[in-house]
Symmetry: C2
Subunit: 119 residues, 2 copies
DNA sequence: ATTTGCTATAAACCTAGGTTTATAGTTCAT
DNA sequence: ATGAACTATAAACCTAGGTTTATAGCAAAT
């Protein structure tokens, strides 16, 4: 597949695909170069990128994710496991803040929030 | 209260307090000017800013929040209500994505995620 | 063979949400 | 009355996560 196909299948702009690659977010196993220097992607890259999209959309930064994915760093499974576990805790933190904020917004709607006296 | 006191009580850096004010995030009712042009804050600003912090930390942007708070715009209660309701829906969206991501991360830990074959 | 479309890179640009710096006026303690 | 601490503004700077632009080399269809 060429870059445009990957773009269509993942919904990620071509510029973003190139940008992610520069950031080491796409392992070499997924993308080779043709004789003309065009990127040639494997079919599996689509599922991979969909996972990446999901993770980026919540709490992972590009840098964190590239840490997990970059094979050259050769992190042990244990180190990666710790990163993932830490991330799960961060997500649970966000979940708690979201629950609070939602309560707060409902309080605003019901005119119960102090905040609302200023709005 | 002067700016440093507010900074201490809210945990927001002085530079951020001034920045938020420039962004119309702090209603005039909370901050006046002394003869020397120093900002003089009311006591209530502390609770207000804590609410602002909570909302910014999840899903509100400064601009959205200033829309709700800016009295000069004179938005009707109905318009503000719709903004808040919309925001609640956005939060629920995020909550769903977080639940999915968490599942995904657990799957990675258990070696069940396809993603993991690349990590 | 030339126009249209796809690909490439490097570098500049953009936005949000701040922070830092430069410069200057005030206040308080000694 | 002088130094330390606090305040002010404007403008420059910073980071993340991209996007846009400029320039140029392939490819496919007419």
């Amino acid at each position: 597949m060429k870059i445009k196909d990957v773009s269509k299948l993942t919904g990620l702009p071509i510029s973003t695909l190139r940008f992610y690659e520069r950031k080491n977010l796409i392992p070499d196993t997924f993308v080779k170069r043709d004789v003309n220097n065009y990127r040639i992607y494997s079919e599996e890259v689509v599922e991979f990128l969909n996972d990446v999209k999901a993770l980026l959309s919540v709490d992972f930064s590009i840098e964190e994710l590239s840490l997990l994915v970059n094979q050259e760093l050769n992190l042990t499974y244990d180190v990666k496991k710790k990163i993932v576990e830490q991330k799960i805790r961060e997500i649970e933190d966000i979940q708690q803040r979201l629950r609070k904020s939602k309560k707060f917004l409902h309080a605003i709607l019901e005119g119960k929030a102090n905040f609302q006296t200023q709005c």
